[in-house]
């Protein structure tokens, strides 16, 4: 079972109260972009075994989107943070590094 704390309302929400939204921090390529850029924006996903940044929506709670950093292999949650940021905040990165010294963002 996955428990994510919604940064908007503070509830440690259980997985069934949430809806997954796929990979976080995607950069959108729209009209005017090259075919390759658009294809990678549309289809290419990291799908790592390990640290992953994801979008989640607190569907059955406050209804807001937020982002989460977790390990796809162990389900360990490193933290959740508001969705209005272009990259993971430093404290989340620090927490991941403390748990996964070999990991580097990028």
């Amino acid at each position: 079972m996955l428990l994510l704390t919604c940064p908007c309302c503070g509830i440690a929400a259980e997985e069934t109260e949430l809806a997954p939204g796929g990979e976080a921090h995607l950069k959108r390529f729209g009209p005017g972009s090259s075919d390759d850029e658009f294809e990678s924006y549309m289809f290419a996903r990291k799908n790592p075994k390990g640290v992953h940044f994801e979008r989640w929506r607190h569907t059955y709670g406050c209804g807001k989107w937020f982002l989460a950093a977790r390990c796809t292999a162990t389900l360990e949650v490193f933290g959740t943070y508001p969705a209005q940021v272009p990259a993971p905040p430093p404290e989340i990165i620090a927490r991941i590094k403390a748990r996964r010294p070999d990991w580097s963002p990028g």
Partner: protein, 185 residues
């Protein structure tokens, strides 16, 4: 004017807790940015209540206002006072971006009462009842549908969409069957 009717005509069930469908109850959904300067004064003028903190519901007499999300509040009040309260909100927030909608007839309201009322909800929602604080409004799900609940007096008040009132009554009835208590006597 036609008479308002509650979703299930005051259906009730007596199990190890008492389930009652109550209503009609006046409800206004208020949406606005939380930092709108005129908001606290407008809500106070319309309802006599202050804005609740995150995930809280404040009650005075037969009126309540609950925090639903960072930009949404639910005002609960007597059915007959909805139009008047809406008008007051519209007046106080005139020209400011907001939404105050009468959702009274779009919702069904249930009361779950008794010493083991929490047991009924434990089976239906992923909510740790022991950590539900007094005055906390918890939005969650009841089995497969969205709901909001809070502790009130010796029981709980549960609000759900009217279209699923029959389903929720079925859930609560089944969950409150005598002999299916969870907590020890």
């Amino acid at each position: 004017m036609s008479d308002p009717v509650s979703a299930l005509g005051h259906a009730a069930f007596d199990g190890f807790a008492r389930i009652r469908e109550i209503g009609p109850l006046g409800m206004i959904t208020l949406r606005a940015r939380a930092d709108l300067p005129a908001l606290p004064a407008a809500v106070a003028a319309a309802t006599g209540l202050g804005l609740p903190a995150v995930r809280r519901i404040v009650t005075a007499g037969d009126r309540s206002i609950g925090w639903m999300s960072p930009d949404e509040w639910l005002i609960v009040l007597p059915y007959a006072e909805v139009a008047q309260t809406q008008a007051r909100l519209a007046e106080a927030l005139h020209g400011q971006h907001h939404l105050a909608v009468d959702v009274s007839d779009a919702r069904a309201v249930f009361r779950i009462e008794g010493a083991r009322a929490g047991d009924v909800l434990m089976k239906l929602s992923p909510v740790d009842q022991a950590r539900l604080e007094p005055g906390e409004l918890r939005r969650t799900r009841a089995a497969q549908v969205a709901c909001a609940l809070w502790r009130d007096g010796d029981g709980y008040t549960l609000v759900c969409f009217r279209s699923v009132a029959g389903y929720v009554m079925g859930l609560l009835t089944h969950s409150a069957q005598p002999g299916s208590e969870i907590s020890p006597a």
